[in-house]
Symmetry: C2
Subunit: 339 residues, 2 copies
């Protein structure tokens, strides 16, 4: 391993000078700078992260709390967060956090100087982990939102706006009778998970404001509940011409079951999903029209917000909401002529 000292010797400067050019931390004359850079290149010198971390008291590591309960849509997010971090000289570590020792773990993470800050995903409306992070004085950024948001940095999907947009779009296509399909998360670890809650509220408000009809279905995750949905829809809301779905399995089930009931998508019924990835569309036949979760944008934004905080640009909290963009599929179309 090449050390800074070796570079300094070879370039006939002091070790501090090498540090200055490497870190751009103090002005150096172009000539010496050039010479040092040259030697660095010749020798293939690289800063040692451990030494750097020890001396600077900064690990340049961001911890991403793991496991993630919702394994469906966060790949893009994680990937972009890792990339954004790396671009700025940070790295993302996966931090498996077991529910039994949340308190200890979160504190130790920062106190031990291992990570400089924390990224927390899949936040519940009331999330113990967030309280712990505040107590531990740990710099953190949420992906998602808790109920209380004062002074908290977060980035999240703008479910409210996405829902409104979806409803608007459907209304524009002539749909008057909508339905919203949500996962029923009662009794699961995701029980307090905010997205469906926010979406339901936004949906009810949106349809009310526009004078539309809107039925909400909470569908559990078991095969029975899912396969019962088409029948339930037919019986309790037969006039529905458009479905907004946040329940992937249900979306697919509808897509394959409806034709057998003589209902063609999108001719007789439109389906759009919210907060999904394009990969769901790739799995469905016809491809689902999806309001795609902006995972890449959010991952990057989260990492950048955290790094900004770590580097002292304090200012007001970063509070970013990004709506989902429509990934056009083939499951949304104009409302059928009314009977």
């Amino acid at each position: 391993m090449v050390t800074m000292q070796q570079v300094a010797d070879r370039a006939k400067v002091s070790i501090s000078t090498v540090s200055f050019v490497v870190n751009n931390t103090k002005p150096v004359t172009p000539e010496t700078r050039e010479r040092v850079l040259q030697v660095i290149d010749e020798l293939g010198y690289r800063r040692n992260r451990a030494a750097r971390a020890l001396a600077s008291r900064k690990s340049r590591i961001l911890a991403l709390i793991y496991p993630m309960l919702d394994h469906r849509n966060n790949h893009a997010f994680v990937e972009s967060a890792a990339t954004a971090a790396e671009e700025r000289g940070y790295n993302l570590v996966l931090w498996p956090l077991h529910s039994d020792n949340v308190t200890t773990e979160i504190a130790s993470l920062i106190e031990a100087g291992f990570a400089d800050g924390v990224l927390l995903m899949e936040v519940q409306l009331d999330d113990e982990r967030v309280s712990r992070l505040r107590e531990a004085q740990a710099p953190f950024v949420l992906i998602g939102r808790t109920r209380e948001l004062a002074g908290i940095d977060y980035v999240d999907i703008d479910f409210e706006r996405t829902t409104q947009t979806a409803v608007d779009e459907l209304a524009k296509l002539g749909h008057r009778d909508l339905a919203l399909v949500l996962e029923d998360l009662r009794g699961t670890p995701l029980a307090g998970y905010a997205p469906p809650i926010r979406t339901e509220q936004a949906f009810r408000e949106a349809v009310a404001a526009r004078g539309l009809a809107g039925t909400v279905f909470h569908v559990a995750h078991d095969s029975g509940s899912i396969s019962a949905l088409p029948a339930e829809l037919a019986s309790s809301a037969p006039q529905t011409t458009a479905i907004v779905s946040m329940h992937d399995a249900a979306s697919l089930a509808l897509l394959s079951a409806l034709p057998r009931r003589g209902i063609e998508v999108p001719r007789d019924l439109s389906i759009v999903t919210i907060g999904t990835t394009a990969s769901l569309a790739a799995l469905s036949q016809p491809p689902l029209s999806t309001y795609e979760a902006p995972g890449h944008v959010l991952g990057r934004a989260a990492a950048e917000a955290l790094i900004a905080r770590l580097e002292g640009r304090d200012g007001p909290a970063t509070q970013v909401l990004v709506p989902c963009a429509l990934h056009p599929g083939a499951s949304m179309g104009p409302a059928p002529a009314r009977a």
Copy 2:
């Protein structure tokens, strides 16, 4: 931050003694040991990773090469690898590796002392990254297998055995005419991806050895190709009664399209998938019978193998193959009575 010195002072021992008890690196009398532990607890002392890394020349960090091209089935894997690492005092960092600078990046990763070893997923049959890792003398473990395997540590799904098992199982159910559906990866970044290649070969051998008929379909990833599959199946292999699929979108498409052609699953046709996760079964109606990728087992095995190597237990290479286990769904059944 509490330092070792502070613990030592308070416990009235030297700093080295604290180190010895903390690391179990030298015998210490039970009394002193107890006393030290006590103080550690009182003060909430935690080792500083940076200092430890610097002094010991070990970062205790495993780098997981990222991004992963195949975003479908590796969540379980990543999660388990992170957990297994953490249990042993290591951490997993996500290392975004861009194809343009593979060489530099991989070398620097290790040379800079940032990571002790590397985990590499989604290995191609001939993978440049593997060559680089060898050149850089970096300890690494593959998840997957290259063509050349001498002396290489890897863990992988046993596609061969899984395929044989699947074929056996179907044969036992009376099926004589099988089909294999694979993704056509030509022209994609995953072109040399080994799983479909190995599976195809295993499938051909298995059906031949058992005197069964076996047709292979390579289906591209576009919606057109996928939706054309049912028709293609009907025309070029109409006698097929069982399908083995490694193409998720195609599996789902078949499931929803076949009934419209008067073919009921599994009454008239069985479908089993290979190397998928249970979440696919959760998305399908009826739930697909899946030979589930052993992501958790492999993730853990990979991390453990790498750590073992890092800690000097050299011995022969770890070469682990784990077959997929059948996650019973409702898409596999006895062959229909022959016409």
